[in-house]
Amino acid sequence: MKKLIKEFLKGIIKENPTFVLALGLCPTLAVSVSVRNGIGMGIAAGFVLLGSNVIIAMIKNIVPERIRIPCYIVVIATFVTIAELMLKAYSPVLNRALGIYVPLIVVNCIILGRAEAYASKNSVINSLFDALGMGLGFTLALILISGIREILGSGKLFGYTIMGGVEPALLFIMPSGALLVIGLLLGLFNLFKKDRA
């Protein structure tokens, strides 16, 4: 049990997919304009990660080595399609806001990366907890980045104005601002890591 909790926790800080492994940055940067979008993307990607990690851990012994990547991708793509259809049905607004980045979850490096690096080598239960931790870590990272960007770029949080009177810097809701925020956050994480080591 202790090991399982460790598997779960490592995804949140020590091997945070975004800040430490630097995986899955494309959707992170693209949808983090507002916290609401960030959480939506985090949950959608977490769902796909969970489903695919479990299935891949189950089928890892049947799949021939050479064609494993296409096989994994089909599994992932199936879950993405499920997520896409559910989003369309239950939250069309969010679906429109996330745009092409919903089908692009399929190529989110976190998911294939975890499939290749973890689920294809570990048991189903371990993979489940790995996926939960990674999904949560990804969502937290998204909340952090989108929070910073929403506050600085539009003076709001969750759509509520919190900085009245201050002119928000439009840059931060532009692509260039996303790159800047992630660069500085990665630097901060490095600084933090060095201090602890």
Binding site: L23, L25, T81
Partner: protein
């Protein structure tokens, strides 16, 4: 089909909306492989080739298979499968022809499949050049041309970035910002400067 359309696609994809800097597609290999120019160039040629080819393939699949059968909701599965198979093919060819290049790419070659730019362009083509699952006139050539131009934009960004990062080897960058963080900050300023082309029209 007219040449102004083509010019618009070319300019907007190569200069204004460079996929990496404005849509963040293909960011991972952009940051990871842009430390030196040579592999960066090889990578971007590979990406250009894959994007162009997959634009053709996915268009054909969508137009002649998914749309008539009403299975368009399955496009993600079909597209990624085709792209994955195609990349595997490219991988095998490179392994045969140039083992040195192959060794250099390491983990990133299989990851071309998960280069969001490839699937992203395929999906974008469908979103832009199909109206209610019907191909607009000239849709095929637009799609292919968009694939090529996105690849060119990718190559341009990759080339600039790798040259800059080679130069940074000689600089005493603060330790915590070395490599990835600085690469993002450079990309940010590059994206800022390319904003100069915003609102471009003839």
């Amino acid at each position: 089909m007219n040449s102004a359309q083509f010019l618009a696609i070319l300019i907007s994809n190569v200069f204004i909306y460079i996929v990496i800097l404005s849509r963040f597609l293909g960011l991972c290999p952009f940051i990871a492989i842009s430390k030196e120019t040579k592999p960066a160039l090889a990578m971007s040629f590979a990406v250009t080739f894959v994007i162009t080819a997959s634009s053709i393939i996915t268009w054909v699949i969508y137009r002649f298979m998914l749309a008539p059968l009403g299975m368009t909701y399955l496009r993600t599965v079909y597209f990624i499968l085709v792209i994955a198979a195609f990349v595997q093919l490219v991988e095998m060819v490179i392994k045969k022809i140039s083992p040195a290049t192959y060794r250099f790419f390491g983990i990133y070659l299989p990851l071309i499949t998960t280069n969001c730019a490839v699937l992203g362009v395929a999906v974008l083509n469908i979103d832009m050049f199909f109206v209610n699952d019907k191909a607009v006139p000239g849709s095929f050539s637009y799609s292919v041309f968009q694939g090529i131009s996105v690849g060119l934009g990718y190559t341009l960004a990759m080339l600039l970035m790798s040259a800059i990062r080679e130069r940074l080897d000689f600089c005493n960058v603060p330790k915590c910002l070395k490599d990835f963080p600085l690469a993002f900050i450079i990309a940010s300023i590059m994206s800022l400067s390319f904003m100069g082309f915003n609102g471009f029209r003839f």
